[in-house]
Amino acid sequence: MKGLIKPAFVLTVVLIVLLEVGARVFFSQDVSGRFDYGYHPDAGFAEKADGTVQLFRAGGRRFHPQSFPKERPDGAFRVFVIGDSIPRGPSFKGAYVWQLGDELRKNQVPAEALNLAVAGFGVRRCRLVLNKAIQYNPSLIILHVNHTNEYEDEREWRRSQEFKGWHPRHWLMKLFIFRRVYEMKLERVFWKWVPGRIRQRHALSDADAELAASLDDEKTRQWRQRVEEVTRESVDLARRRHIPILLVTQCRLESNPAHSPRLSDHDLDALGEYLAGPGVYHLSMKQVFARVPEFESHFADTGHLKKSGHHLLAQAIFQKLQEEGLLTGLTVQEGRATEAN
């Protein structure tokens, strides 16, 4: 065995160990839950010593970086928006959540509007975000209802479960430092330097599998059923905690060369109406946009909105809140969500 271990090898091991310790000490928060793929109960929420809560990208939850006081200031109207890429918006300030906050404050409502939406999140992962968000005393939850992300929810669940096991495929990533390096390259190099169009083509197999699943009638029926069940559970949770909840049922722009563009809610509006009741409100995106001339001009693609579309949605939600009397009696005070960076 003499001479088997060389100083260079020892140095490599020592460096990896030191980096690992460093990663666990300094970056544990960023990396924790990375391989839970959004199923970690707390990832993305950091409670700071100064009494604020920071939202950051972690654990598969790529929140827009924001911060807010852990304890809701007296009289503040705290709105959490939970959903997928549609409420997340083209940018932090381009999303309707920011515009809604501005609109509320313009109307003397001391609002904190926080965008907790994450691209690709289906109903199950939104539910986990809701579980966490509800701990911070929201005045209102806006929950987007959609069924196009169930494939991703399922896939990421499988990945998270696989990673928890001791399959050799995941051994490398059990080290924090390796996870951190992987994550850094993915977010700071790959996403920044490789255009989305190339990244999409690169992930062809995933896209193919998603398309195949979405064409399977049985699969889509199961997804709809899950959306119904989990949304009902979310509504029940908000009700039990006496937190008003606004369900925004999403719609899609469907175009056919033979016809003019039309909006389809894929029966989500019926679900929203069915669940509506005391403390539970419903807004149909289809109805919001159907009454706008040339509504298709507000869509960036079949589902996502342009900034103008977000503006329309912010207006509609504000109007809905007024109509439902949710803003009655609120007065101007300090308190506003701030963008962390």
Binding site: K6, A8, V10, I16, L172, V181, K185, K192, I198
Partner: protein, 528 residues
């Protein structure tokens, strides 16, 4: 089983541990069993093809060496591939894993009997005629198998098109043939051995186990290096004692190989795949970006594979030949081919170019020899006219370099002035890029679009600046590594560095590999 799968990273340490625990006489059977298992992980049926090549070349090699096996043994060995398929059929049926077609078993049996009859017939001839007959028998059978599995549809399709072009109608049947992994590599390795025995430059291998391991040695079986019998067989015959350096050198080679494959090649592939996607509307910057990306993808992919192969073999105490030596620093076409896929280029040189006459004859003879060699080297890469054109392009470069005074002067290897050397390297790299554009194009039409795009410098709908940063990010560490190793002539040689520098370098390489570890891409050369 691919080198970059988790299975391999369990397989190799297991084989390593068992191998050095066993007494020397037990190691060869272990290597053979491990090699067959490694190959069977792709497709159990194709192991019958490996066995066929092994049996034919073992028997012919032995006969060429004047030590003919008894008839019973020849028959038994000749029927070994059919027996393997038969056993697979029974096992598959029993476990419900599918079926090995009985027709396939019958064809393998018939092929074995045909070989047996031919071999016995040729043996009866005696003298020099017998040796030639045995060589033709071995080369003919092996090339027939390679030709059927790799080129059958290509030739049938080409013949059909030719007939159509001349106004004749023909409807030949195209078969659905799966290309067995690594068939070109192990067939050429085996053929090289038989030719060496025929020439008397290598002794015949008497031990079947040794020869079978030589033919199927798992680190290099599916993508080379294409070994020579005289290098590998003596090492397999004398599996020595363990040295610490085996594990040091082996792990270092594997780390460098993983870096080239996982960090360099797979990330360059992101850009290359987009640029060479038929749906992409190319412009000048993207055409260049795409081909540069592919140049580093194919180099990182193949030389990375070679390094992992060499590292794996080294851990078992076996030295494989070098296959790449800084090819993009070549100063002329001849220099390039002495640095790129060395085991293949020297194979073609030794077994085709020189037997054709090499450069010993008149100018036109040399031109013919170069052209034939490079066309066939191109065709070796795949059953597609694109590869033939690629071979022709490199053949033309070699001919021009040899006979155009300006080019041979400018690109001379002995040039003393550094700037002229640098200019020659740049020119050669640009020419290599044109070659890669041909190689990567899926069709002649796509190749035409690539050349047309070079004249279009209008801004496209996708910016090229950030993707070029991505490319640079992955190429720069490779070039840095090559700068460190350049003076020592081996791409993975790092022993000259002080140990702290080596430690830092290993850590950096490891982190770079890990940073790209979720992209799972197959090695390009598996398809050849």
């Amino acid at each position: 089983m691919s080198f970059i799968t988790w299975q391999y990273f369990l397989f190799l340490p297991l084989i390593f541990a068992l191998y050095w625990q066993l007494p020397p006489r037990g190691r060869l059977p272990l290597l053979l069993a491990a090699s067959y298992f490694f190959y069977a992980c792709w497709d159990v049926r194709f192991l019958a093809l490996v066995l066929t090549t092994t049996v034919i070349d073992y028997i012919c090699g032995l006969s060429l060496g004047g030590r003919k096996l008894g008839r019973g043994w020849v028959l038994l060995l000749a029927l070994l591939p059919a027996a393997w398929l038969g056993v697979s059929h029974l096992v598959f049926s029993f476990w419900g894993w599918g079926q090995v077609s009985p027709t396939l078993i019958a064809v393998a049996g018939a092929l074995g009997l045909a070989f047996f009859a031919a071999h016995e017939g040729v043996w009866a001839w005696g003298g020099d005629k017998r040796n030639k007959g045995l060589l033709i028998l071995s080369v003919g059978f092996c090339l027939a198998i390679l030709g059927f599995f790799k080129y059958f549809n290509f030739f049938v399709d080409s013949a059909q098109n030719l007939l159509r072009f001349t106004g004749l109608q023909a409807n030949f049947v195209l078969l659905h043939i799966i290309l067995p992994v690594g068939i070109s590599f192990y067939t050429f390795q085996s053929l090289g051995y038989v030719i060496d025995v025929y020439r008397g430059t290598s002794p015949a291998c008497a031990d079947f186990l040794t020869f079978a391991t030589f033919d199927a040695f798992f680190p290099q079986m599916v993508s080379g290096p294409i070994e020579r019998g005289k290098n590998l067989i003596p090492q397999l015959e004398d599996l020595g004692i363990f040295h610490n350096s085996y594990i040091h050198d082996g792990l270092r080679l594997i780390l460098v190989g993983l870096f080239k494959k996982v960090f360099v090649a797979d990330n360059c592939a992101v850009i290359a795949s987009y640029a060479f996607d038929p749906q992409t509307a190319l412009n000048g910057p993207w055409a260049i970006l795409g081909v540069v990306a592919f140049a580093f993808q194919i180099y990182g992919d193949f030389s990375g594979y070679t390094d992992i192969a060499r590292g794996s073999a080294k851990m078992l105490g076996i030295d494989l030949m070098e296959n790449f030596r800084f090819p993009y620093f070549a100063r002329n076409p001849s220099d390039f081919w002495s640095r790129w896929h060395i085991s293949l280029s020297t194979w073609f040189r030794d077994y085709l170019y020189i037997p054709l006459g090499g450069n010993r004859g008149a100018r036109w003879d040399t031109i013919r020899n170069l052209a034939v060699t490079m066309l066939l080297a191109g065709l070796w890469h795949g059953a597609n006219w694109i590869f033939v054109i690629w071979g022709a392009f490199h053949g033309a470069l070699l001919i021009l370099y040899r006979f155009a005074p300006f080019l041979s002067g400018f690109m001379a290897k002995e040039e003393k002035l550094w700037w002229r050397r640098a200019a020659a390297v740049i020119l050669m790299f640009l020419l290599t890029l044109v070659g890669w554009a041909i190689f990567r194009s899926a069709s002649l039409a796509q190749l035409g679009s690539w050349f047309a795009a070079l004249g279009n410098w209008q801004a496209g709908d996708l910016s090229w600046q950030k993707p070029s940063l991505w490319l640079l990010f992955h190429i720069a560490p490779l070039l840095l590594l090559q700068t460190i190793t350049w003076k020592h002539g081996d791409e993975a040689k790092l022993e000259h560095l002080p140990w702290p520098a080596r430690g830092l370098l290993y850590t950096a390489l490891l982190l770079l590999v890990v940073s790209s570890s979720e992209q799972d891409q197959e090695f390009i050369y598996f398809q050849f």
